[in-house]
């Protein structure tokens, strides 16, 4: 007795689901994760990969079966059945993708909100000192002080670093210590906030291991806040075409534990500011 088609379809569906789940969970296509939210992005990617593999394998299998099983035999000049549609089937394959897509949208919105992507940037522009307000009366919303976008956890206690992009380098300024370097050092496990500005054209600040990217736009400051959680050196890559040396516009971010980070800060802090901790040490 031949196996009924419905049983075969069910078995194929189960097999397909298992294979795509296995691929999603076990095939790692991403580089190491080095920031707190990188793992959530990777989890989203695994879901997308599972769904994608399932869909692609399913459609490819149908295509191959059709090409093999329904190929025209030599001498056969008849037509196929005159099937013009099937309303329940069409409703099914409209509704199921729509539901999956909406659920994915909610899921990724949730991740993005937790990362800080839906933050309100107003707290950055609030309360300039009164005299400054007076001085800039003619230009109340100075675009140079408004934060135009980015990812911001709005925790308020993040360690600030000012990033300036120019053709073809990133420059990092530590405002609390008042020094500038060409290599970004970040403390392990401590929230940081990069304030990004460009001097010339649009660049993009990208660290693949952090899964974070933000355009650096002249005239429109942006922010990127996150917590690095894995020690090591990672590449900072410019991801927006910025001129002939765009491919060479790279820098390095060093994530180190708080002791090495403090030492590095002190080593680099200009002497005038550095005297205070030094004198306390000798006293």
């Amino acid at each position: 007795m031949p196996i009924p088609a419905s049983v075969l379809t069910l078995a194929a569906g189960i097999l397909l689901a298992l294979v795509s789940l296995w691929v999603g969970q076990n095939i790692n296509l991403m580089p190491v994760a080095a920031a707190d939210d990188a793992a959530t992005v990777d989890a989203l990617f695994k879901v997308l990969l599972s769904i994608g593999v399932g869909l692609l394998l399913g459609i490819t299998a149908m295509l191959v079966v059709a090409l093999v099983h329904f190929r025209r035999r030599p001498g056969d000049h008849l037509d196929g059945p005159a099937v013009e549609g099937n309303l329940p089937l069409e409703i099914f394959w409209t509704a199921v993708p729509a539901i999956v897509i909406l659920m994915l949208g909610v899921y990724s919105y949730d991740i993005y909100a937790r990362m800080g992507g839906m933050a309100d940037f107003n707290h950055h522009t609030s309360m300039p000192p009164p005299e400054v307000e007076q001085a800039s009366l003619g230009n109340p919303a100075d675009p140079e002080t408004v934060i135009w976008g980015g990812i911001d956890r709005a925790e308020g206690m993040a360690f600030p670093v000012e990033v300036t992009a120019m053709q073809f380098a990133f420059i990092f300024h530590y405002p609390q210590q008042n020094f500038t370097t060409g290599e970004l050092h970040l403390p392990l496990g401590q929230p940081v906030e990069l304030q990004l500005k460009s001097n010339d054209v649009i660049h993009a600040f990208w660290v693949p291991e952090f899964r974070l990217k933000q355009d650096v736009i002249p005239g429109q400051p942006t922010v990127l806040s996150f917590t690095a959680n894995r020690q090591g050196d990672y590449d900072i890559i410019c991801a927006e075409l910025c001129g002939p040396y765009h491919g060479g516009m790279r820098s390095k971010v060093v994530v180190e534990d708080s002791r090495s980070f403090e030492e590095w800060l002190i080593r680099n802090t200009p002497a005038t500011v550095a005297t205070a901790p030094d004198s306390s040490q000798t006293a």
Binding site: L29, L56, L63, P81, A82, E84, T94
Partner: protein, 544 residues
Amino acid sequence: MDVQHHTPWHEYFGFSLDHKVIGIQYLVTGFFFYLVGGTLAGMIRVELVTPLSDFMARDTYNQVLTLHGTIMIFLWIVPVVNGAFGNYLVPFYVGARDMAFPRLNAVAFWMLPPAGFLLLSSYFIGGAAQSGWTAYPPLSITTPAVGQMIWIMSVLLLGGSSIFGAVNFIATILKLRRPGLGLFQLPMFCWAMLGTSVLVVLATPVLAGALILLSMDIVAGTGFFNPALGGNAVVYQHLFWFYSHPAVYIMVLPAFGLVSEILPIHARKPLFGYRSMIYSILGIVFLGLIVWAHHMFTSGTPPWMRLFFTIATAIIAVPTGIKFFNWLATLWQGKLALNSALLFCCGFIFNFVFGGITGVALAQVPFDVHVHDTYFVVAHFHYIVFGGTVFVIFAAIYHWFPKMSGRLLNEHLGRLHCLLSFLGFNICFFPQHWLGLNGMPRRVAEYDPQFQLINQISSVGALLLAISTLPFLINVVWSAWKGAPAGDNPWRACTTEWLTSSPPPVENWLREAPLVTEPYDYGSVEDAMPVTTVRGRELWSAGR
């Protein structure tokens, strides 16, 4: 049909008003620029064989990638899927003897070669534009002005040509239909062209506006997009993508239409879900206009915008998915002729589904933030426009070459072309997803040495793609000259372009235009049709 009205050869080089001649003019011109753009792509893949920038100068590399993108979009895909097949087929399908405005049609075509050669000339006079096909300011304002201005002029001309064509298609489809032929009796390609033309008319003027403002920033020192003068660089991105995202559908919807014509004929079954195909096209047209900012998730757009555009973008997958399920259902239980046209369509289905899946992934902001502007995106859109539309263009050439030339193409060479294209394409672009995920940005002449092996594999795929055009070129030249005569209707098709001689006479049909109200009248249930419908197969057998 003894009166063979041959089109004299020199008409193909002149200001012909015949929609069929203009269609072939678009096709040949577009293919010439495809070879130019492909050569540029080859140069990019040669440069990327090594991690260092050692094959060409860095600014030359940026010129090459700018020209590659611009040529492939504006001089190959848009003119060929719209101009070539739209012009050739739409008057047939509506039962007209020509387009609504034949002179405007010829003008639209003849804007194309000057625009193309103008663009290419910029390379020889001071260097071509080097800010990518997106031409984002302030980079496009600060790079050499001559090349950028020529690029703007060229794209404005091509956009104008595109608008002229679209107006003509809308008028032809709505106003030139043969009496008795209703909108919901049209072949699907007409609906695709109607939707596409609406997109062209609504979106292209916005690009033109953006480019005119950009040119004023460059030559007149205005500051619309120049932050140094108080301008806003991101506004340009909104205007640019308001056209350039619909442009994806302008490149893809006509291809969807062509697939809907080709598959039923070679599967010997009606098109599955005719009405839902139409509603999907309309849905894609509407949604396609409101998703542009998904290209700008890292551009500092406000949060509400990212939420809105994520959902709108992902939802487009639903009407698109319907079309693919309908095509699979059309194939299912058919009598598939495994010829080049059908195989290229199947290649298209695989590639486009792949590109659609990565597209839904890219719509998810947290993931997009990681892979935006990387090789993942490069791979994604090549799966859509190359693996999708270009595969359909080849399927359409195999399908309609017999009608255009009166001769059949060689099937062995055709299937070899299909196999090499499919392998070459996937070897070239599949590995690029990994490159993007792991840290290789797009538009770079140099890269981290850890990516060398994968880049070399990708370049081998590109070489295979280049080789794949050889059997095609040999096939076309040989078959046009010595190919087997096709006869009027080699595929036993029901649509009106097959109900006349091959090649057709200037008037399309020597007698009255045939009325076909069931364009997909295939299938073995002979009595399923109401008696009032007019069947192409009867007209065809009556005409013989």
